[in-house]
Symmetry: C2
Subunit: 217 residues, 2 copies
């Protein structure tokens, strides 16, 4: 068994945040498939009791303990391995600030927009989609402006803040319905830098789970 076991599935950008970190950090890890997409396993009470009462992937297993919430996992891994760790106390809070922004204002709305766009059997309500898109645009604009003149979120070097924000960026516009690379040039350049890191792989190459073609809307 590998040192780290990550419960994950290919469509989860929150899982991808951690999987990509583990792979780029060169840590000894293996995936454990979570059947969310077809099996809805994270709603199962016994899965929740064994893995995560919050009912979410990813779950990181390490030395018999289970860690959840991608931002807490990334913080834990940076603290304990030093890989992609912020360089000072001030940078530590700066990384946490962006991880919280990602969770609060970006992932919460963008990931939901993508899921409803690509994977819901019924056509999503247009007012809900417009609402989520508006929230996404406000948040992504903040990131785009921040990356103007910076190589990575905290400056010259990639940190856990970049892995958090990258989580949903590498799923294509066929899924998200939003062409980030075309619309946000500073984010597009940062994505190129992220994709150049040793160990980088696309979500569907890094995590288990069948590819599910997005619905045409």
């Amino acid at each position: 068994m590998a040192t780290y076991r990550l419960h994950c599935f290919a469509q989860s950008g929150n899982a991808y945040k951690v999987a990509l970190y583990l792979n780029c950090a060169g840590l000894d890890w293996e995936p454990e498939f979570v059947d969310f997409m077809k099996g809805g396993i994270t709603r199962d009470p016994s899965w929740r009791a064994a893995n995560n009462p919050m009912g979410e992937a990813p779950v990181l297993e390490f030395e018999g303990r289970r860690y959840t919430q991608s931002g807490a996992i990334l913080t834990y891994l940076a603290d304990t391995t030093g890989m992609f760790a912020p360089g000072s106390d001030q940078e530590r809070y700066e990384a946490l600030r962006w991880i919280l922004f990602d969770n609060h204002k970006f992932t919460s709305f963008y990931a939901t927009h993508r899921f409803m766009n690509a994977f819901l059997p019924d056509t999503p309500n247009p007012a809900v989609m417009a609402f989520l898109r508006g929230r996404f645009e406000a948040a992504v604009g903040v990131v785009e402006k921040h990356l103007d003149g910076r190589h990575f979120m905290l400056g010259e070097n990639p940190t856990i803040a970049d892995f958090s924000i990258a989580g949903y960026m590498f799923y294509g516009p066929d899924e998200s319905g939003i062409d980030i690379k075309a619309d946000y040039p500073h984010i597009a350049a940062w994505m190129e830098r992220m994709a150049s890191l040793p160990g980088w792989k696309a979500p569907y190459d890094l995590m288990p789970g069948d590819y599910i073609a997005p619905r045409a809307r």
Copy 2:
């Protein structure tokens, strides 16, 4: 000038998370009014440049630096003052996990639901409100279950995780459109414990800004 200055306004539950912490911790702080509700000041480029490029309250001023994102501020204050700090490294990640859950799954949808319910001039789209309410219900159910048998989020003692989750709980159902106390008994009992902490005050008694009567929907 007080040791800590918190840029805040009475309607902001994210600001309340920090204001309530500062007051219950007995720290020397003063509020600085942010005219969000009537003036929309956080959208002003000069306000953003001076205070927070993310365009959000709260902002904590301390020793000439500015800190933002309530979860990062709470973590910083617990780390540096020891007040309501998690007791061990494991508890530290556990607190962060709940702070992220709060931001990601609870505040993001609940605060938006409340704002649209109480303060938007136009009647909000019913499909959007139903969507937000569904998201809220999934998240609040996780907190309700977690508090069954626990005094506070991490066990016997209150920590920063409680202050984060409390942020929007103490605004009434007239604003939120949701009667948390009536529907979630474990959360209601925990709210009583929070309100019994020395220094506890309701949002409108703790932070500056005119009371704005919620719209009847």
